[in-house]
Symmetry: C2
Subunit: 251 residues, 2 copies
Amino acid sequence: MGSNIEWLPTQVPCGSCPLRVRQEFRDFTEVELEFIKGSKRGELHVAKGGTILEEGAANQHLYTVLSGWGFRYKTLSDGRRQIVNYAMPGDLVGLQGTVMGEMQHSVEALSPMVLCIFERAKLFMLFEGFPQLSFDVTWIASREECMLDENLLAVGRRTAVEKVAYLMVFLLSRSIKTGLLGRSGVDIPITQQHVADTLGLSVVHTNRTIRKLVERKLISWTDGGCRILDAERLALIARWEDPIPRPRPFL
Amino acid sequence: MGSNIEWLPTQVPCGSCPLRVRQEFRDFTEVELEFIKGSKRGELHVAKGGTILEEGAANQHLYTVLSGWGFRYKTLSDGRRQIVNYAMPGDLVGLQGTVMGEMQHSVEALSPMVLCIFERAKLFMLFEGFPQLSFDVTWIASREECMLDENLLAVGRRTAVEKVAYLMVFLLSRSIKTGLLGRSGVDIPITQQHVADTLGLSVVHTNRTIRKLVERKLISWTDGGCRILDAERLALIARWEDPIPRPRPFL
DNA sequence: CGGGAAATTGACATTAATCAAACTTAGTGG
DNA sequence: CCACTAAGTTTGATTAATGTCAATTTCCCG
């Protein structure tokens, strides 16, 4: 088997970035685009299961997810693992390293991923020359914080069934917002172990809980991935407070 | 009883801010200082138990903690509460509101607090004119994210004893970094209910767990507050990975 | 066809939640 | 100054939720 992660020269130029075409992202000005272009150092292609960042390591780069799913996690010294969040197209990966010196968490690919590589050193230049972009970075960090608050509430205060229901709605919501929803839904590329490690449960109990939701036809669990069948009822079970975003219309 | 929260005109001018004298904060330039001064709208004095921000509300302001302790929390519709983090002197409060429109969490005072009030509308001006300050804001958001990751790991994957030990070391560490440590330690102004709501435990079980640590002389729990007696052993129990910061020397 | 990762199941152990009550302390008003 | 109250802590008894262990099964992939 070859390397499961490799650094390639830019193949998707920023000028025609598939993400920026989407409604959910704001338009860049010419200068901003130039700057971003100039900071891009290439692309990282990572196979499913590949490690993008590792806890404890220092890393010179900052990444943006172009495609694929990943997850961010921490571990205790005896191996217990906690997934703290997921990374989807458009997400920024590695910002914390800028602040903390070395990474406090690892990032792994759930499916084949492509990430844009940026020089971390350019970040301060971005703050000096591009107020709007700087604000965007803060915006992104703040949004991440908000998701972590939600996850903390789920892990700390919801029951097992509520937790699983919550995670499903959470991932569906994010998929919709990111424009990943096909006409037949999304395939969420996670295993039950991931669910367990996200929610602070054991795999066995996670399995039994998932089974219940499958029996009630709220989700389906097919070979290495799952699908949401009834988001509304799941949201009710999870006591999800926000409206589930509507999928944007396709042309 | 009078109002437990009131807005007063500036009494602590930014020029002689007691926080900026401390080693742990970087120096501002003259212009930066002027800008900050110009953005300050007054001070918020909050009694113990007072609510500074409320989930679901929109708020025009951004705050900086000048003194006192507070906590940030979310609730489920049936009242279950999860404390997501604590706020201590120097912390920024309310940044999320800028991004999300309305607050996704509440903030309450654990002890009498004083906060500086800033106009949120000025934030974008800050990004336009003060790259270093903008970077600082991002730095702060990123640090918060890092703490949330840690808390999530604790709530999701540690046992009850480990959890309590973790929280104690976490709060001690932050106290030390914030320069709150007197020569006899810190009095942490929380109740066992707060501990429970931070760690995702019931009060009863929290009490039993705390009792064990008290018996082992690792902490002491006195009327409405607690003290850390043996940080090293607590850190070991919690599998705390980082060195506990040394208290800075006093003159 | 064989190997391995993921999912599933049953039996059992353990942790933590719940319920209910008593106790302690600080603060309040008479 | 003292009874009274409320908030916080503590305890015991019981129940429910979740974890652990150990197989077994399923299914993908080479």
